[in-house]
Symmetry: C2
Subunit: 225 residues, 2 copies
């Protein structure tokens, strides 16, 4: 089947790049290979010099696309959340029952993406790993308010607000829909990171445990009885 997202472009916000990387071969190369290299080195040890050598291009050419590596990380993050948001909308669209709908959303947020190719040209599993490892650093810094004003996190925030709506539909009386929504989206990343690195703090080391934990929490929090 033809890829949907590879033809539909996710608008990540123009403040994230200097030149649109989707507009050229080099740009697309920068994206796909930065996913590989950031995944391998981590954002701290990754730099544009190394990326240039890796794609047999030049450091200064990469600087014509992205201001610096943290903007590139924000761009990759926006891509990731864009894909998740897109899946959230189309894969829950047909579901009538609000509760089932919310649980489907939690599945999309927690479980490893299957059918990878139908959503993106890039390596989605590695992109997801980058988000688990590095996303927190894309907004934990002193420029966060500027970056936010420029709209660099707007897809992420919109995704959280979509989840807020789903939460409200399940229980309109619930008092903390935004807190819960943020808590889930960030919590998923954190649970995976803990599973991988702090094993003594993890109940069961499976993918399903992460989903089950959030299903249990949400069900009890929203449907008290």
């Amino acid at each position: 089947m033809e890829s949907l997202l590879s033809s539909i472009k996710i608008n990540v916000g123009s403040h994230l790049y200097i030149k649109d990387p989707e507009s050229s071969d080099l740009g697309q190369n920068i994206i796909s290979h930065s996913i590989e290299l950031i995944n391998e080195l981590g954002i701290e040890k990754f730099n544009f010099n190394k990326l240039g050598k890796y794609i047999q291009s030049n450091e200064s050419s990469i600087y014509r696309y992205f201001e610096n590596k943290y903007k590139l990380l924000q761009y990759l993050s926006a891509m990731y959340w864009g894909i998740i948001e897109y899946r959230l909308v189309i894969e829950t669209n047909a579901i009538e029952d609000n509760n089932t709908k919310l649980l489907k959303a939690i599945k999309i947020l927690t479980l490893e993406p299957k059918n990878i190719d139908s959503y993106s040209d890039y390596n989605q599993l590695k992109l997801r790993d980058i988000i688990i490892d590095e996303f927190t650093k894309s907004y934990h810094h002193k420029d966060v308010d500027n970056d936010n004003d420029e709209g660099n996190f707007k897809i992420y925030k919109r995704l959280i607000l979509r989840l807020v709506e789903m939460i409200k539909n399940v229980n309109p009386e619930y008092k903390y829909p935004k807190a819960l929504s943020c808590h889930i989206v960030e919590g998923v990343l954190q649970q995976y990171y803990i599973q991988r690195h702090f094993k003594s703090l993890s109940d069961h080391k499976t993918e399903n445990q992460v989903y089950n934990f959030f299903e249990d929490t949400i069900t009890k929090v929203l449907n008290p009885k």
Copy 2:
């Protein structure tokens, strides 16, 4: 009243420093002023050169205490979690009822510390802000497994496991005590960060909202009925 913690030393783990900063004036100066300066600049723009000038000492002298600024951040984090753990133990000690005890623990984790002086010589509010802003970066990097093996996060993990025990005491049947415990401790920091920087994702911008959200969650999750 005489300070308790200023006489009782928190053992943060010897891999965090080269020379124990509590053992000299310069060391204590490094701690207290790094709290000020990291708070002001953020960990990325902070460095030992600037700290040296700030305390009218020398860059190379600071390197005799700490390997690098990230080890210092881990040291400050261990200090913070050490104070919280200490409070968790002594302030909940006398409480009989398991549920009340857990809620008191949540209060200690969420609310701004009062009676600051009785727990530490250092500026606890600024230290807490550093933790909210920077703690995530102290373990989100490629050396995390080494640092963990060296015991650099042991106080943090012990704190989480203490909370796990409290959770189990409230409901021994509950399936995800570790996930919940991590989720609370990290979630508190995250809720404050969101309140400060992503206002559109925050339900109410008060300190109590953070506590109330966690109280509501825990009560429903652990006492379903």
